[in-house]
């Protein structure tokens, strides 16, 4: 069989596999989830095969880059099926957000500012989902907005998902009364500043074009003084820094934030200065928040993926060095 035939067969197999599962999904198959036993077996197998790679290297067979790629792919994909829960303590920064929400009276109005886009969704979307679910569970009213064009779209995806969950669906929540998406407004930090005067001046209509005053939830919301808590999901500028500097420092808003791992260090000083009630940083922040809210979901899974893929990278660094030492410390630049 030539390589070409093999490749064609592989593509056909992927297509058939995808079709089967797609049709399955459409006809209502349940999502797959490994039991704890299977998960442990998978992890052990992965580690064992890495050891085998090490053994192969010691015996003088170099591993090509495609093998490395395959391992990274598997290390990221497999944990997504697992239920295995990494035990991790919930940090004070994350508890800060959780406690602030738990302290709110039912009926309180929460503003969720979604300032991120799809590339950073893996880190921030789980935070948005957990936060929205927690608010609905606590019977809080949600007002969504964004100063990033795609933020409110991301929020809609999260809303759609959470509203479909049986526990939340049973509450029969109504748009305009229990939650509202005001959409995107251009103007960066000036939007926040003008919202300090009037929300309505910035959001004449909601995401779908309904006039501001026709939305019972926000009709009486004039500015930040009518908001009980604000949560900002941010992956850059404008984002948490601007929310702190304007909404918190100037208008006295109570603010919690969720940030990407890359951005979290810049925001940390605000947390220690008390300008933020809490901070969820990166995937570990998302995972901890899910643990705190007792709703293990994507964040926890993603965190597991991240840990396993990290271990794989570190393992290959070790294997690479073994290969180098085995080859008599010659220059292995192109290995």
């Amino acid at each position: 069989m030539t390589t070409r035939t093999k490749e064609l067969i592989a593509v056909a197999a992927i297509l058939v596999f995808a079709l089967i599962f797609y049709i399955g999904r459409v006809s209502g198959w349940q999502a797959t989830e490994f039991s704890t036993g299977t998960s442990i077996v998978v992890v052990v197998l992965l580690l064992a095969s890495l050891l085998w790679m090490l053994a192969l290297t010691i015996r003088g067979r170099l591993i090509g880059r495609r093998v490395v790629f395959l391992y990274v792919g598997v290390a990221v994909a497999m944990p997504l099926f697992m239920k295995l829960s990494q035990e991790m303590p919930v940090s004070l920064a994350v508890l800060g957000v959780y406690d602030a929400v738990m302290e709110l009276q039912p009926g309180s109005k929460v503003l969720i500012a979604c300032d991120y886009d799809p590339p950073t969704a893996p880190e921030l979307q789980p935070m948005a989902e957990t936060f929205i679910r927690l608010c609905f569970q606590r019977d809080l009213k949600i007002i969504i907005m964004g100063i990033w064009p795609q933020g409110p779209q991301q929020a809609n995806l999260a809303l759609e998902k959470i509203l479909a969950e049986p526990e939340i669906a049973a509450k029969n929540l109504e748009y305009g009364i229990d939650y509202v998406n005001l959409g995107f407004q251009a103007g960066n930090e000036f939007v926040i500043q003008r919202m300090g005067g009037s929300f309505k001046s910035m959001f004449r209509t909601d995401y779908g074009g309904i006039p501001y005053d026709d939305l019972p939830l926000v009709r009486n919301v004039r500015n930040f003084s009518n908001i009980d808590y604000c949560f900002n999901l941010s992956s850059g500028f404008p984002g948490t820094v601007e929310w702190v500097q304007i909404a918190v420092d100037r208008y006295g808003v109570k603010l919690g934030a969720g940030n990407t791992a890359v951005q979290a260090p810049t925001v940390y000083p605000y947390l220690s200065a008390g300008q933020l009630t809490g901070l969820l940083g990166g995937m570990s922040g998302a995972a901890e928040f899910e643990i705190a809210a007792d709703a293990r979901g994507k964040g926890t899974k993603y965190m597991l993926s991240q840990s396993v893929s990290h271990i794989v990278v570190i393992a290959f660094v070790i294997i690479g060095n073994v290969a180098f030492i085995m080859s008599g410390r010659r220059s292995a630049l192109k290995g």
Partner: protein, 216 residues
Amino acid sequence: MRREVPLLITAVVGITFVVKYFVPHFPFNRMDAWFADWFSIVQACAIVLGALNLLKLSALKVIGQKSGWGYALVIILSFMLITVIGLAEGSDYRDPGTSFDWLYVNMFIPLSATMFSILAFFVASASYRAFRARNYEATVLLIAAFFVMIGRVPVGDVITGFMPEGYRFSDLAIWIMDYPQTAGQRAIMIGIGLGVVSTSLRVILGIERAHIGTGD
């Protein structure tokens, strides 16, 4: 004329922009904003040149039936598709629900997010191949990378759990980032600053004049 005028423009404009830094008075205080606006308008005009170049090269491939002409045709078609839709959409082209937005969300985003995510594989293969204790420099690089990497996952602290708080892998990672890493960055940044001053000066003085091309 063709050489002297551009050299003169470069020199005069360059010196004006240096002076600008020290003068808060109008019009100097507005020059930063003006330049940013002008530049973005010039960019918008210049992209016509770039787009025509891309279309021309692709069209030549299609007409000449050169290898890969089919792909060149795809480039032309997809370029035309999104451009025509985007221009017809009006200045609200980016609003949710427009066709432009549909193309953006369902084609552009998956493509760029996937290309970006390829980096995860390449980071792994680059670490595998390059982080080897080949010599003294490479060993230092390897050790620093290893500690920071392991310090950023929970496993790192599990391994060093026997150590008192503040002396675990995660603390080591933070320490490396805060001190030796900062020092190295600083040396690089100061060097860059001096390099930029020298390069700018050569450009303004007309010693470095590649950008204005030949005399004809």
